[in-house]
């Protein structure tokens, strides 16, 4: 297992490599990196042209890991992702079935525009995400470790798309919203992409290092009250619960699952380590709360009608459940 110092160095190196290609978007890059260090899948959502695919491609280029990209379309079949049995004939003329792995058999899988595939195909991918194994023709085949699915989806052009079911969205550790870059960053993007110089990305980590980093992430200690705070946040997303704010009661049909609390703590651990701290703070939990919870809230029709977003509801939860005080009047 690598040391925390090396962990920070490696992470900084990866971020630096990404920074060669991606202008700005520091938080976006940090969230994606957090998912990688937690071996959690990430869902990027943003309008076309914001560099979602470029970010993930750059990330995969910065680490020396098997990478595959799948462009999801309505006619994509599960076998196109998982692989299939093909009939082969050897030199002796004997025929046999041989499994031909699909693109899922890579450490880094880029599922581009995942919401354009049919639910059947989505389900095949999402099952692999959860089980980290694929069963084809009765034979279960483990996926390589680390295994990380980086999916993108476009919130507009909903025509001909198949929104991911809530149960499948729950498989993603974080859902990161890709913001439109500020003007300065946009100018830099234009300059960088319209010249003849092509930025190159070096590989600064391999599978062993990444696996070690994932293990180290999980070893970060979290105080009991910090874990309790994550639990309280998740509980407050449930409209039937007493601690739920009014907005949640009104707009949320179902709150976050227990995976939400796991995601909060895990992502907070990675965040703490990336900040050079050996323990999780309540602030780390709150920092990743939006990305960890926004795709886990099932909103009601009233929220759609009123234009209330999941992010606004998570903000309401954060406001309603402040970081727990020390527990004594007069204490800070």
């Amino acid at each position: 297992m690598i040391s925390p110092e090396e962990y920070v160095e490696r992470a900084a190196a990866i971020e630096a490599q990404i920074g060669r290609v991606i202008v700005g978007q520091a938080e976006l890059v940090r969230d994606v990196l957090v998912c990688m260090l937690c071996e959690g899948h990430v869902l990027l959502e943003g309008v076309p042209g914001l560099g979602k695919t470029m970010l993930l491609k750059t990330l995969s280029a910065a680490v020396d890991l098997p990478f595959s990209r799948v462009q999801f379309t309505p006619d994509l079949m599960p076998a196109d992702i998982l692989g299939t049995q093909v009939l082969e004939e050897d030199e002796a003329g004997r025929r046999s079935f041989r499994f031909r792995p699909g693109p899922i058999f890579a450490s880094l899988v880029l599922a581009d525009e995942v919401n354009r595939a049919t639910p059947k195909t989505q389900s095949a991918l999402l099952e692999a995400m959860q089980e980290r194994a694929v069963t084809v023709a009765g034979e279960t085949r483990p996926l390589p470790r680390p295994f990380l699915v980086m999916a993108t989806q476009n919130p507009i052009e909903m025509e001909g798309t198949y929104p991911l079911p809530e149960a499948q969205l729950d498989r993603f550790l974080l859902k990161v919203v890709v913001p439109f870059p500020p003007a300065a960053d946009l100018a830099a993007v234009v300059e960088r992409t319209t010249g003849d110089a092509r930025p190159t990305v070096d590989k600064v980590a391999d599978a062993a290092v990444l696996t070690s980093m994932v293990e180290l992430t999980r070893a970060v200690p979290a105080a009991s009250h910090v874990v309790q705070h994550a639990v309280d946040l998740v509980i407050a997303t449930h409209p039937a619960h007493a601690e739920a704010p009014d907005a949640v009661r009104r707009y949320v049909r179902f709150g976050a699952s227990p995976r939400g609390a796991q995601a909060l703590i895990l992502a907070a651990k990675a965040t703490a380590l990336l900040d050079g701290r050996p323990n999780v703070a309540g602030a780390d939990v709150r920092r990743v709360a939006a990305a960890a919870l926004r795709h886990r809230l099932v909103l009601g029709y009233e929220a759609v009608a009123d234009g209330v977003s999941a992010d606004a509801l998570v903000a309401a939860v954060l406001a309603a459940v402040p970081e727990p005080p020390a527990g004594l009047r007069g204490a800070p």
Partner: protein, 526 residues
């Protein structure tokens, strides 16, 4: 880190005390102000002391609570984390410390980092004591208002002082009643009636001591006096005067054959000695018994009848009947004497109650001193004027020591002629106060029924139909005529008439008791 957390725990106690004080102080200050305001509009004595006591109590309670409030180490660690913004480092370190081996590769790093962060940091940095200026301003304003209102004089202060004085009077009078009850208990010979009376007085004393105000105390005294007065015989004073008078008469001039002893024993001795008396002695004894019977007629009719029967039998020479009658007289006198003794205790209790009632009345009226009791003796003179028959009336008033006297004068003109006269104003008479230490046994008093004609007052009549030189004749009473009689002779009758008058008139029980006590005192001195 441990040293820092120890300091943080101490600091947390202070912060807790200050925060709690700031939270509760406005409520206490508002409550205190409300109590002071109540004390300004209501004559209650408790609001202002309670307001001050409440403030002191809250301060003491806060100090004590701050000293004993429980501050677990984890709370101190979390407070330090938040105050120093260490990202839950101390709390995590403390938890890892309590669970050795649970920190994995980070355990030692967390401890080391916590120690490094704690180095050089002061508890005051971790737990700043924050004063909420607005809230404290409100508290200061309320406190100043309460103190100012409390120190500013208002009319309720006077009411409270008066109430306090009244309460002191109540306590004093209750103590006096308690003393009177104690005297009754220790009086000899012991008597269940006295004990019962003492218990009633003690109950009354307690009721008086716990009375909310003088009026309630007066009501309690009135009720008790009414109850006790109802138990007295209307003829008590006459009985008492008869019994005492007979005792004194026989003590000063014993009956034949009986040189000493009380009246009953002398009567019995005399009955036994009748046979040895000479006819002259019998005659003298008969006359003496007849005279004694006359003195007993008002107060002890049985004794009077028996004495009269004895006198008659003796005069007729019937010694047996005389002896029997003398025995009956002795029995009647004994019974009356016992009854008088029992009721004297009640009268004494009534006197104590009356004194307490008087003291309470004085307290209510704001007087500092009580008024004495006494009877004056006055003489009035009137002058008629007119032609024919003239009439005049005059009144005089005498003033004695610690007493108020009263006198009356009357002028009646007699003339066959018709006319009218107007009496002149009475001359103030010389009053004699009721001085218990004086020698009332030999005192003489004015008896209107025994008066004889006084000096003749001649006045010039107005000219009328008849001769106008006829003057009116007045029977103004003087100290020197026959209307002045020994007090002992008229006291039973005065007492009986006074008691009868008290029964007829609507007089408060305490005043009735006062009159009864007065005559009882006179009778005791006789």
């Amino acid at each position: 880190m441990t040293q820092l957390l120890v300091g943080v725990r101490r600091r947390l106690r202070l912060a807790w005390g200050v925060a709690t004080a700031q939270w509760i102080a406005p409520l206490v200050a508002a409550l205190a102000l409300g109590l002071v305001v109540v004390g300004r509009v209501r004559p209650w004595a408790w609001p202002e002391p309670v307001a001050g006591g409440l403030a002191v109590l809250v301060v003491v309670a806060l100090v004590v609570a701050s000293l004993v409030v429980k501050v677990p180490p984890l709370v101190a660690a979390r407070a330090a984390d938040r105050g120093l913004e260490t990202g839950d480092l101390f709390a995590t370190a403390l938890e890892l410390e309590s669970r050795p081996g649970s920190g994995g590769p980070f355990g030692a790093r967390v401890q080391a980092r916590a120690a490094a962060v704690a180095a050089g940091r002061r508890p005051a940095e971790a737990v700043p004591v924050r004063l909420q200026r607005r809230r404290m301003g409100v508290v200061a304003g309320l406190t100043v208002a309460a103190v100012a209102l409390g120190l500013t004089a208002n009319h309720q202060d006077e009411v409270r002082r008066r109430q306090q004085a009244e309460q002191q009077v109540l306590d004093t009078e209750a103590a006096k009643l308690q003393d009177a009850a104690e005297e009754l208990r220790t009086a000899t010979p012991p008597s269940p009636a006295r004990d019962e009376l003492a218990k009633r007085l003690e109950d009354l004393a307690r009721e008086l001591a716990t009375a909310p105000d003088v009026q309630k105390g007066q009501e309690a005294l009135d009720a008790a006096a009414r109850e006790l007065a109802g138990e007295l015989s209307p003829n008590l004073l006459a009985q008492k005067a008869a019994v005492r008078g007979l005792d004194r008469s026989l003590a000063s001039s014993p009956l034949p054959g009986a040189s000493a002893g009380d009246a009953a024993s002398q009567l019995r001795t005399a009955a036994a000695a009748l046979a040895g008396l000479s006819p002259e002695e019998r005659q003298a004894l008969a006359e003496r018994l007849a005279a004694l019977a006359a003195t007993q007629a008002a107060g002890d009719t049985d004794a009077a009848s028996a004495l009269a029967a004895a006198a008659s039998a003796l005069a007729n020479g019937d010694l047996t009947a005389a002896a029997t009658a003398l025995g009956a007289a002795a029995d009647a006198q004994s019974a009356t004497a016992g009854s008088v003794t029992g009721q004297e205790a009640t009268v004494g209790a009534l006197s104590s109650i009356a004194a307490a009632r008087g003291a309470l009345s004085s307290a209510v009226a704001g007087r500092g001193q009580g008024q004495g009791q006494g009877q004056g003796q006055g003489q009035g003179q009137g002058q008629g004027q007119g032609q024919g028959q003239g009439q005049g009336q005059g009144q005089g008033q005498g003033q004695g020591q610690n007493a108020q006297g009263g006198g009356s004068g009357r002028v009646a003109g007699t003339n066959a002629r018709t006319g009218s006269g107007v009496g002149g104003p009475g001359v103030p008479g010389g009053g004699t106060g009721n001085n218990p230490s004086g020698g009332l046994a030999t005192a003489t008093v004015f008896d209107p029924a025994g008066g004889t004609d006084g000096e003749v007052l001649n006045t010039a009549g107005q000219e009328g139909e008849g001769p106008s030189r006829v003057v009116g004749k007045g029977d103004g009473l003087t100290l020197q005529n026959a209307a002045q009689v020994p007090l002992g002779d008229v006291l039973p009758r005065y007492s009986a008439e006074a008691t009868a008058a008290l029964d007829r008139l609507d007089i408060p029980p305490t005043q009735r008791a006062l009159v009864q006590a007065y005559f009882a005192a006179l009778a005791a001195d006789q």
